[in-house]
């Protein structure tokens, strides 16, 4: 699979999207959630709680925050606030993904399905590939794509929780680099100067600021670096694919 237009056969867009997800996207999330499953087992979290958290929260930083707080006996309010902050990255992802997959104006109930299934992997694919597709099949294509990713992740969480010891450690460690590398490779394919600059500034600012505060560093680093890239890259110009 290379970056560019999605598969040409869109007679059954849901199926085409599902097939498109098989490979690196699904493997990446399978492995990422395998790591999470193994981690929560080590923490002593119940399997069914971990699995439902993946199902309902579906965001790795938020899941990590949730598990750390839940097993340490934090209150509901603390968990709510912490997960809210670690989930802030969802807002720009949802805001930019939905207009690209909508074939008709206005908010529909189906928007909630896409929003709930959205992960960084799905978002980057929407951002890069949706503009290359005709509008009508986009929503079903990316729903199929996201459902496969989601299923792979749930399966990965189960495998990680149930049998992480069976996987050779050297392989398990190396595969952990798959998802971040995969997403960075897709993101450098967004042909937009403001996007490149935002990515570059974010790559420096977000990890640096998160050493000071995980939640505030993520929010301030993301907004600051994104705004800087937006301004320096000319993203403020109308129709600014600059």
């Amino acid at each position: 699979m290379s970056i560019g237009p999605p598969p040409g056969d869109l007679k059954n867009p849901f199926r085409a999207g599902a097939i498109h997800a098989v490979g690196a996207p699904a493997i990446g999330l399978f492995v990422a959630l395998m790591g999470y499953g193994a981690l929560t087992r080590g923490m002593g979290q119940e399997f069914i709680v971990m699995w439902w958290a993946v199902f309902t929260v579906w965001s790795m930083p938020a899941l990590m925050t949730f598990s750390e707080l839940a097993v340490s006996g934090a209150g509901m309010w603390a968990i709510f606030v912490a997960v809210l902050f670690s989930n802030l990255r969802n807002i720009p992802m949802v805001v930019t993904a939905l207009p690209l997959v909508r074939a008709e104006p206005g908010i529909k109930w189906r928007d909630f399905v896409i929003a709930q299934l959205l992960s960084p992997t799905v978002w980057v694919h929407v951002l890069v590939q949706a503009p290359e597709m005709p509008k009508p099949p986009r929503r079903r294509f990316f729903t199929g794509f996201a459902v496969v990713i989601f299923a792979a992740a749930l399966f990965g969480a189960w495998v990680g929780y149930a049998g992480i010891e069976a996987i050779p450690k050297s392989i398990g460690i190396s595969i952990l680099i798959l998802t971040p590398l995969y997403l960075l490779l897709i993101m450098v394919s967004v042909r937009q100067l403001s996007g490149y600059l935002a990515l570059g500034f974010g790559a420096v600012a977000v990890p640096w600021l998160m050493q000071w505060s995980v939640d505030w560093g993520l929010a301030l680093g993301g907004i600051g670096a994104g705004t800087l890239g937006f301004l320096l890259g000319g993203g403020y110009k109308p129709r600014g694919r600059t």
């Binding site: 970056i3 720009p92 680099i177």
Partner: protein, 115 residues
Amino acid sequence: MSGAPAWMAPWLPVAAAFAAALLTRGAGIVLSGRVEPETPVFNWFACVGQALVGGLMVRAIFLPTSALAETPTLDRAIAIAVGFAVFFLSKQRLLFGTFAGVGTLALLVAFRGIG
């Protein structure tokens, strides 16, 4: 969590986390109804999203909290460099670049006898 029946205890944190996740996604849905693609507002949100996600991915590679931390930073940097090089040399084939990076790290891990 005092006052709640014992069987609810594990589920209340899940409910709190779900409510928080729903709120951020719901805020995104409401805002998305007012944002058109190819407009400055859309571009700003896309830039913030790229900075956030890109930053998190770089952090996951170079400041990992996972078992990846057991590998030297240099090995991770080499693996990423190989992944990018193969990606661009193969005319941006994602699978080639991704698995070249993962394979390089696996070889380095095996060479160093980690795990």
